[in-house]
């Protein structure tokens, strides 16, 4: 029964994402964005128990740098993402996971406010536009390559030393330190890697869209949906299934034109939250 429902969820999601939208490439790219964000949160939560609610900040950083600066904007985006993620981690590292999440959320909200205040550079609430030659194809290719690299990194790391380090950290930071595992080094490594990954996703987003506005890169859905998916997923295939289901339903409702996608999504999230509470602790 479970397999049957997963099968139907995947069929519904794939159908809604591939056949309903007018622009399939854009729809696929949207799916990649959600997948990478969900994956980064899932990976961080599984290995360090950290739930970063501010990952969109890195998406915005990559996107804005690529659009604002002409040639080497993407390089600056990655460098800035690296520096900012290191700074954020070392500022918030001693906090409980809940407060770490809130702190990273505040960093993201500050970024959002800054993107509106610095209107001479970012275009403020109206956004900024730059067209790229073959932007869609380049962006999609970069997105696919990034996804494959992240999956490769995950497969390599999770089967190796990181798996044992993560298990020890889950038992408690002090306990892990007794075995010579430092939360700081593991957390910093994964957090910075995921943040830089998301900034590359931002570059891919800028190439695909060309037009960057705070409402799109700091869209609350980009935090809420990946977070919920990361929390309820037990394995990588779960991320795919839940994302296909959620985005498929959204796409279907948007296609019908009822304008209730957000409400339905909110209802589903509330139900998923309840399911999560009912699950037994790992």
């Amino acid at each position: 029964m479970k397999r049957l429902s997963i099968f139907f969820a995947v069929i519904l999601g794939l159908g809604s994402i591939i056949f309903l939208p007018l622009d399939i490439q854009r729809s696929l790219h949207r799916f990649i964005i959600y997948f990478v964000l969900s994956f980064s949160m899932y990976f961080l939560y599984k290995t360090t128990l950290i739930l970063p609610l501010g990952q969109c900040l890195f998406l915005a950083l990559g996107s804005y740098c690529t659009v604002i600066l002409q040639t080497y904007g993407w390089v600056l985006g990655i460098i800035l993402a690296f520096i900012l993620s290191v700074f954020m981690f070392y500022v918030l590292k001693n906090l409980d996971p809940m407060y770490f999440s809130l702190g990273s959320l505040c960093f993201m909200l500050m970024g959002q406010e800054l993107s509106r205040i610095l209107y001479d550079i970012t275009g403020g609430a109206d956004g900024i536009f730059r067209s790229f030659e073959n932007g869609m194809a380049k962006g999609l290719l970069l997105g696919v390559l990034l996804t494959l690299s992240l999956l490769g990194y995950y497969t390599k790391e999770i089967k190796g030393r990181l798996y044992y380090q993560a298990e020890l950290i889950k038992s408690g930071r002090t306990y892990a330190e007794a075995f010579g595992i430092s939360f700081e080094s593991v957390g910093a490594k994964v957090f910075v890697a995921m943040s830089v990954g998301v900034s590359i996703l931002g570059i891919s987003n800028a190439l695909t869209e060309g037009y960057i506005v705070p409402a799109s890169v700091f869209n609350p859905s980009l935090t809420v949906i990946p977070l919920a998916v990361a929390l309820i997923s037990h394995k990588l295939t779960d991320i795919l299934t839940y994302l296909l289901l959620l985005l498929g339903i959204q796409e279907f409702l948007a296609h019908m034109g009822w304008g209730i996608q957000g409400m339905v999504l909110g209802g589903i999230l509330m139900f998923l939250g309840y399911k999560l509470m009912s699950q037994e602790e790992d």
Partner: protein
Amino acid sequence: MQTELLLSGISLGGVYGILALGLALILNIFGLANMGHGAIMVSGPLILICGLNLKAFGPLGYTSVLILALLLWFTWRFGFKVLSVEHSEGGSRRGSGILVMGLGLIKVVEELGAKLLPGGVIFLDYLSPEPGVIFNTPRVLAIALSVTICLLTRLFLKHTDTGRCILAVSQNPMAATIVGIKLKSINLIVFLYSVFLTVFSGVILASIVPLSPFWALELTIKALLIVGLARPFKITDIVLVSFGLGLFEVLISYYLGEEIRNLIIFATFIVILIYRSKLGLIYEKA
């Protein structure tokens, strides 16, 4: 001008005080931060607007009130009741579950608010301020109501049996159960009282400033900031910190500009989170 700023700051702080009081009750009894707290606050004026103008909104108004009522029931029945009674173990899953539920609640309220109010803001301007009059009635009423509610809550917690039971449960739920306190009833009372306070704070806020349904998350963060700075169940702390935050916000908006107000508030929140222990702001339970 200074009197006007002071009045604006204190009235805004008073609203934050009631909001934070609702969150503090939940945080101390259930041990979890309700991320949907701001959404519950925004739903207050939404319900009031629909209730007062059911004919104007037509079927959309009835449906919205029904949806909001169902959401609150769902939050209790499958959220707080489940985590407080049936699943007393498994902290991280409980916390994550409530987090996801809260974010879902925010999503629904945002879209419902945007649908109901094409202008995008809720403003219960029942008494327009007269030109030249500094003490406009909604602001003075907001301050009076905030102070009264905080005082009544303090009296309720300190001088009634139910209030003492709430304090006992917040200190040690297991010991409270052993001495015969019905945990389920106390949890329900706290949840309902917190919802009442939060919804009420939303109504007062919408009467003094135009309230956007998209402020839900921001309001939750501000409430968390106040609760984080105050000692558990010390209502005087909550009131003082809230008034301080209200004044701080108004002064920043006036002297530095509206745009950077939130930027400074969020930066302050991060600084307080980091230096909480050094500032002596981590407390034992009440």
